[in-house]
Amino acid sequence: MSAAGANPTIPFQDRARRALQDQTLQQAMNKAQGGFVDKRREAMAQLPEFDDIRDAARDIKDHVLSNLDSYLELYEQKVQENGGQVHWARTTEEACQIITAICREAGAELVAKGKSMVSEEMGLTGALETAGLKVVETDLGEYIVQLAGETPSHIIAPAVHKTREQITELFHKHHAKLGYSERVTQREAIVNEARNVLREVFITADVGITGANFLVAETGANVIVTNEGNGDLTSCLPRVQIAVAGIERVIPSLDDLSTLLRVLARSATGQEITAYTTMYAGPRHKDDGEGPAEYHVVLLDNGRSAMLGGAYRPMLRCIRCGACMNHCPVYLAIGGHAYGWVYPGPMGSVLTPLLTSFEQAVDLPNACTLNGRCKAVCPVRIPLSDLLLEHRFEQHRRGLTSAVGRLLIRAWAWLARRPRLYHSVMVIPLWLMHRLGRKAGALRWLPLAGGWTGSRDFPVPAGQSFHAQWRATQKRR
């Protein structure tokens, strides 16, 4: 049985344990595992200059972060020139209020929603539903997750935790009343059924809300990349179009866009480019035959500007490709919901404490082996594992880690700085462990190390340390 999405009220360890024991989840994750990794590797192999483009992508984002205010103002000016409106939201609450007000003003009843992680961050769907609106997710994965009453478990593959059998049952449960009485089991039939159900939504929705992969300052365009085309139908067909984005999405120019697009899809899905890459720059103009009558962009800060001046600034380079989680062995073991909030995997473990609170997410930066695979694959070279270590420093400074743990580490460090004492203190435990375990070769139990010996043996130390043995050989020489 799956938990109903990310649930921050359950402790991380419990969420992780449940995920590891959830056979269906494990089955789904096993299937997904490797696919993304192999496809990315193949895409890289076909583009020898990939690493140089990554450098260029990093430099573009760094340049933006050094001039964020100017580019945001330029972007707003261009949107206004195009006939659209930019709304600034300091917090997620403000963002939800702004969007609810736009919907009310438009007399909306039905909202079609494209895939957007920042809208998840806002809790937008819940806010709109509370205001009496009907909201339908139009990305297939998001739609599946919405039907299941869950939240996305991956930033680009929201339903990666679901098996096809589960989707068949979900569709049967929700679509039977719409006249789809047969269970669909094949991939294509599942997609077609969703397409037919969602078509009605695209046509009748009053407001279409999407995210934005990039905001181009020189043209005032918001750019979305999708593979399903749902984003385009969500943007174009309803009367009112709203794009939501974090303030760090802005980039200077279309040239920069082409550089970033070259690393985005390759890192995410291994595609050279996604099936659809669309730029929207304002509402329908006088002579246009179609298009939305209103065009709004809601820009969210929610802690981002506070990250600009500190150690976590590189995190604002993130283009949300998901490569870090696709390559994270911890994510692949426990899935996205165990992370407890909107953003999972390494990028989530860095972001969540910053966008929610350090206190609320103490486990995330620690539940990592610092293996550095995330850092190695990041298309904009965010030193993710270094930032996770930075979080540990921060937790230590703030006293968020266990007092006993800190004391033990300090005591060990005190000893480690006194080599003579250290080496003599180790003599007896080494001798004892060796005596107890040499017949078996490994100990099945150790005091204070139940975490280790619960499911692993501990290889028995040699009876004497290297330093002791070395000294003896040197004396003989």
Binding site: L370, R373, L389, G441, A442, G451, S465
Partner: protein
């Protein structure tokens, strides 16, 4: 036998020729002075790995010194976020190894800490930044040092078995260790090297992670053990004892017959005797 200020054991310790720092030829008249960073795990759990490192370095023509004033690189404190404790341990390491041409350790993880984390720790400390940088620049993981600095192409060793190599994360991603151990292993008589699936994926050790998050860690190491098994190898090799203790510990619990050894033990011809986590023979 004389002891230097830092409490070294070697008679042959010589620090007069600083220009040798950049001289990578083992044919220079004065042998290259290597300070062996033993690592706490080799010191306490498997001393044989450090003896193997000494043998390999001496065979390569280096003069090896083991400073007594060393314990650990400080990773347990570093990875727990205790910056102050780590800095003090780092200062001790920097002092103990200041006089050598090179610092070598049979570990990618510990050398990664010396090479990348120490300079980071002291980046705003004028007094220590330079010394941390100097230590970082001359610190090498053992197999990479042998291949790239000492230009060793062939070791004198034999091993009858099929081995698979686990790339430890820090060795691979911080110290660029991947080809070097494999190249050296190819020269070991009788040894067949076979690659396992996901050799470069973390084994789930992560230092204190393995104890703090045992469920996730055990899941990761179980995956690793499954990959070892399906490779068909009878021996698992690696360059970091942390990973090897973790994998060996899990293999023993699974009653796997696979032998686990540090790559240095095989390269030095010291692979005889029980593998990691195996019982001592009765003889």
């Amino acid at each position: 036998m004389g002891k230097s200020r830092t409490g070294c054991y070697s008679l042959r310790h010589n620090n007069q020729n600083v220009s040798r720092m950049t001289d990578t030829k083992k044919t220079s008249e004065v042998p290259i002075q290597v300070g062996l960073f033993v690592t706490c795990l080799a010191d306490l759990v498997r001393p044989k790995v450090a003896f193997a490192a000494v043998r390999l370095l001496e065979q390569a023509g280096c003069t090896v010194t083991v400073p007594r004033a060393q314990t650990c690189c400080g990773q347990p404190a570093l990875n727990s976020g205790d910056q102050a404790s780590t800095e003090r341990i780092a200062q001790g390491v920097i002092r103990a190894f200041a006089d050598f041409d090179y610092v070598v350790a049979p570990s990618g993880s510990c050398t990664g800490t010396l090479r990348h984390k120490y300079p980071e720790l002291f980046r705003q400390d004028l007094k220590w930044a330079t010394q941390a940088r100097a230590l970082a620049d001359k610190t090498f993981e053992l197999t990479r040092f042998l291949v790239e600095v000492m230009k060793i192409e062939q070791v004198k060793a034999s091993y009858a078995g099929t081995c698979t190599y686990h790339d430890s994360c820090a060795g691979l991603r911080e110290m660029n260790v991947h080809e070097q151990p494999r190249r050296l292993l190819q020269g070991v008589t009788g040894l067949t090297l076979t690659e396992m699936v996901d050799a470069n994926v973390c084994c789930g050790f992560g230092g204190l992670f393995s104890v703090k998050y045992p469920d996730i860690s055990v899941r990761m190491v179980s995956d690793k053990c499954a990959n070892v098994a399906s490779s068909g190898a009878d021996t698992l090799l690696g360059g970091d004892l942390g990973c090897l203790l973790n994998i060996a510990g899990r293999l023993r619990r699974e009653d796997s017959p696979v032998k686990v050894l540090h790559v240095a033990e095989v390269l030095a011809g010291m692979a005889e005797g029980p593998g990691i986590g195996e019982p001592e023979s009765d003889s």
